[in-house]
Structure formats: structure tokens, C-alpha cells
Amino acid sequence: MQSLEITKETLRQEGERLKAEGFRFVTITCLELDETSLELIYHFDKDLEIIHYRMQIPKDAPMPSLSPVFFAAFLVENEIYDQFGIKFDDLVLDFGGTLYLDDDDDITATPFCKFGVKRADTVPDAE
């Protein structure tokens, strides 16, 4: 699987460029690499050609959201917040970690991480 590298700083800019070129946002895949880092893979499609952008990020840092550029990204970013605990800034529609999870002890946990972090630690402004 071939993929391109992308960073936090260039994400929005690259998103704008892809949108102008006629790419369609497909989805984001989140992976846990080890105890401290996660990997995000952004998938875009144009005329049945799919391209992937990779980014490695530490677990405890918030991410810029892609949803102001591609509205469709809000759902998957909320899902990643539920499952991996990455906080996305400027989400157009923020479910605050309750997209799927309901119980109080679940909301602060990250069910998809083997090396779980309490979400309250990663999000300073969480109530």
C-alpha cells in the first residue's frame, strides 16, 4: 500500500488542495502503534483512484480537524475520539466522546487502545 506523508501543519492546506483538484474524502483510519503513538491514515478518492496520507502523532496531543474543509469528516473524527481518545479541534459537530459510548466509566476510557489512556488526562477542558 503506497502512501504519502503529511503533518499536522500541512493537513488543512493539503485538504484544501485536494478538494480543489476534485478529490472526494473517503475516511480516516486510526491505528495504535505503541504505548505513546498513534497513526492516522487519510483516504481520498478521485475517479476510482484511492490515495492515502499517513501521519504519526503522539497520543496526548489534540489534532486539527478536517471537518471545516470536508464536512463528511466530522463523523469519523467523532468516532476516533470515542475509540482512541484523540481530541479534534474545531469540529463542526462535536459529540464530545458520546457518539457510541454511554456509561460514565466508558466515556473516559479508550476501548480501541491496548495501552489505554484515561481520556480525561488527554483533554484538559473535559468536564
Binding site: 457510541y100 459510548l101 454511554d102 456509561d103 466508558d106 476501548p111
Partner: protein
């Protein structure tokens, strides 16, 4: 006299409410298929009703998860007594293939008392109809005993 009419019609024309509680759709569409021309339970007076307050029988498909257990309990509490609950499919019985998933609580009987269990993945329409018939026999027993139905298990 009036009581007799009500009791008789409850058995002869039961009204069902169906709640999908995290099922994969397999059991749902089989439950719906019971109402369509090939199986057509409506000819026996069995009606699918959207409103739990009108219903005698609650049909539950799928596993209970942490969010819908509250909805399920609410629907059960809204139904007037006497009432029976039928759990459909392997997931409704025990959690089935999903029992180890993190958001799954387990079978329907973890939240509300279940009277009839219909196995299968998914349960066939014939099995579902058979389950409803079994359930009605139980409902008639409850009517004869005249005992109020036990309340929902506290979660």
C-alpha cells in the same frame, strides 16, 4: 364479562411491538418477513404496532448494549400487564457472536425478564411464528393465574 373479552382478544389477536436492540438486521428482516404475504401472520389477527402502550407482546432482536438497555427497559415499562417478552436470535439469547465485544452487555434477559427464547442466526420466520405461539400459551397461563407480571430486573 368485559375482562373475559379482553383476555380472549389478547390471545386471539395479540399486538406486537418490535424493538431492534443492536441486531445485525438479519433477525429484524425475518421478523418483518413474517408480516408479508408468504407468511402473513396478520391473517391470524397478529398486528405489528409501533406503540408499546398498545402492545401485549414485546419482540426483541439483537444484543443489548450499554446505550440501548435504557431504551429497552423504558419500552418494557411502558407496556401494560400482562405482557410477555420474546427474545429472537442467538444475540438476543446470550450475546451470540458479539458476546465478547466491549460494548455488549449480553442477552436480553440481563435487562428484562424473557418468556420465550427463539434460537437461530438468524431465526427463520417459521421459528419466530412458533415462538409467538409458545408465548401466547404462556400469556394465557398468566391470565389464568391472575398474577401481575414481575417487574424489570434492576440494572
Amino acid at each position: 364479562m368485559l375482562k373475559k373479552i379482553v383476555e380472549h382478544s389478547q390471545i386471539k389477536s395479540p399486538w406486537l411491538v418490535h424493538y431492534d436492540c443492536g441486531s445485525c438486521n438479519g433477525c429484524d428482516i425475518e421478523t418483518l418477513a413474517c408480516l408479508t404475504p408468504l407468511y402473513d401472520v396478520e391473517r391470524f389477527g397478529v398486528l405489528n404496532i409501533g406503540n408499546p402502550k398498545h402492545a401485549d407482546v414485546l419482540i426483541v432482536t439483537g444484543t443489548v448494549n450499554k446505550r440501548n438497555k435504557k431504551v429497552l427497559k423504558q419500552i418494557y415499562d411502558q407496556m401494560p400487564s400482562p405482557k410477555i417478552v420474546i427474545a429472537i436470535g442467538a444475540c438476543g439469547l446470550s450475546g451470540g457472536i458479539f458476546r465478547e465485544a466491549y460494548n455488549v452487555v449480553g442477552g436480553v434477559d440481563k435487562v428484562i425478564p424473557v418468556d420465550v427464547y427463539v434460537p437461530g442466526c438468524p431465526a427463520k420466520p417459521e421459528a419466530i411464528i412458533d415462538g409467538v405461539v409458545e408465548g401466547l400459551a404462556k400469556l394465557s397461563e398468566i391470565q389464568k393465574a391472575g398474577k401481575p407480571k414481575k417487574e424489570a430486573i434492576a440494572s
